[in-house]
Symmetry: none
Subunit: 197 residues, 4 copies
DNA sequence: CATGAATGAGAATTCATTCAT
DNA sequence: GATGAATGAATTCTCATTCAT
């Protein structure tokens, strides 16, 4: 797996464009970002932009895939290190926050675009499914008293609560102390993970 | 408060443009909808469009305000009729669903635009605050054992869980039975409304 | 069939664009002519260009159709006036020259484009068929001694000789006296129109 | 006249580029063919393309010259072999067909470009002149009864008839039997080669 | 000497907005 | 007023050509 200097430079240029893309999409939104700006921020010519990415939408998709890969590897790495097979909800909540930390407003853009673009909707809904699945798995391990559809419903509720709450502290800057919110989220997970007798 | 026929016609044209706007913004997104299309769907000329609304963004803001008014009056009407001061969480959840039913993808568009437009952000965050406030009020009435910041955190969690869960059944069409999800949401509210001894 | 002043102006603008198109396509070729130039020569904005014609190729097609109509009406008008049903080859040759006179290099561009664009090929080959048909008809009237396939072959030869010869005097400016060439062409038609005993 | 292996390889690369050029220009037209494609089909880098040919137009000119040489050598070779000084019109017609067989749509592209490029016009008109000259020569040998300008006119007619007829069977695929058309062409030449008393 | 990544001028096209009728 | 033709700035995208490796 040795790379020639040229291959390395190609990958660097590609990376510069991906980074410029995520920065500008996050900051100004997809439609308010034009290809020239992206190229400029990446420090390359507009021609290069188009030789690396067929068009702006393709760039968005590649960024999306790139960051999903990065983001999902959080859990996998954690697992390996701690040798714990069973996913911990405390960890889950904190990882969700990490995800937001480095994806900034980007996923919000994606949410929007997913409305009008099928391919993006597909990629994004796969991603959400993977996260939902993680909650599902945790629930199943603790709650054999629930039906499958109850598990599904609770997963959605837990996912939404986490996602939305984090979003609010990160973006809308609601007037709430972060640590208390996290504690409450963990408390909520705990509530659902304990079988009601 | 009598209106001349001309004034009435003006109001009607205005309404037709607002409706066309919400329809197209919801279906195709703000940036993929152009003013010509809106005028066409409303059955008026592009010239008229601009005599009613200074520009496309103003139309969006007016739609936003219009629907927030409609939407918030749900609770107020309920209150007046039933003479119940105390907001019922079952009602709250079901009203949230109603809101979604007639605003469709519109608010999602607004979420996006809010990122890059301060004025829209302002209007939209006021709206969210009002909804959060409703949950806050309910919580305060039932839970004198919680601190203010805990109330805030729980409000956010409840709001996010409700908003997100509804969104998922309406848009992402997650594989979950609607009624079970609603029951679980109500169950969640109940959990928080009952003082833990 | 009364037209409002606005409709008249629209038709005039359209005509100006068609004229500018034929002028520039003929002079500089399709690929060396850009839409801005056409708009400029027509004295309208680039935006107008695109509101009248979806794109450059559509303009070309519309010009093609427009001039074919003009061009083919030569014979039909002649017929009406002279009440002569039977097409005269002297007239045919002279009409072919007239056609070239006002289409200039345009049809040459079309010939080229027809190679790579099916729709243009279709329009142009229909046109050629109509002209060939005229020769066919003349031949059939005079030569009941020839087989159908001989008629076809001779039609093609006569058409090509006329077309090519005119082309040469108009474009390649071959060193030949126009009137002599015309006389020779007419002589050629005569040769084929007289039954060989 | 010995060539080093390197010189041979250079010639081969050059030939590969010329071949790729004619193939793509013929198939898709000059303006729809880009230099990258040509290099790719030739199996060399774009950098090499530009070290062999200053630019795209130079390539076209060199192809044109190359194929004119090939094409004109038909007659010369024939002459040499058969030792017949006098050009035979049957041969002329059949050679014209051969020319088309291996130049395909290429000359048509050239016709077009000749309109807007003087150098190409020059090369191409020289070529046409040489072919016309051949007909001229044949005519002069048989028809001392004609004036010089009549000879010129008839040459143009014969050339156009042949060129156009072949074009029609090769490209426009007119509904005509090839052999009959060829017979009629030869018959036409014969008609002009025989002195009318 | 070959390579192909990088360049950027230039072409096509869109669309919010204006304004003469 | 209402209309819709006209405008042109802004954007996307292409491709001939260069030049560092």
């Amino acid at each position: 797996m040795s790379h020639t200097p040229q291959e390395i430079r190609k990958m660097e240029t590609r990376k510069k464009l991906l980074d410029a893309g995520i920065t500008l999409f996050s900051a100004n939104g997809y439609y308010k970002t034009n290809s020239k700006e992206i190229a400029k921020l990446a420090g390359v010519s507009i021609g290069s932009f188009y030789s690396y990415f067929e068009d702006k939408k393709i760039l968005l998709k590649e960024i999306l895939n790139y960051y999903i890969d990065q983001t999902m590897s959080l859990e996998e790495n954690q697992d390996e290190k701690s040798q714990i097979k069973e996913m911990d909800y405390d960890l889950f909540v904190r990882n969700m926050i990490l995800r937001h930390e480095f994806s900034e407003g980007f996923f919000q853009q994606v949410t929007l675009l997913a409305n009008t673009d099928e391919e993006i909707e597909k990629i994004y809904s796969d991603y959400r499914s993977r996260l939902l699945k993680q909650i599902d798995t945790m629930l199943i391990q603790h709650r054999d008293d629930l039906s499958e559809s109850e598990i599904s419903a609770i997963s959605i509720i837990l996912y939404s609560a986490t996602e939305g709450a984090i979003h609010k502290i990160k973006f809308h800057r609601e007037n709430v102390e972060e640590e208390i919110l996290i504690q409450q989220l963990i408390h909520l997970f705990k509530h659902y993970m304990i079988k009601t007798t």
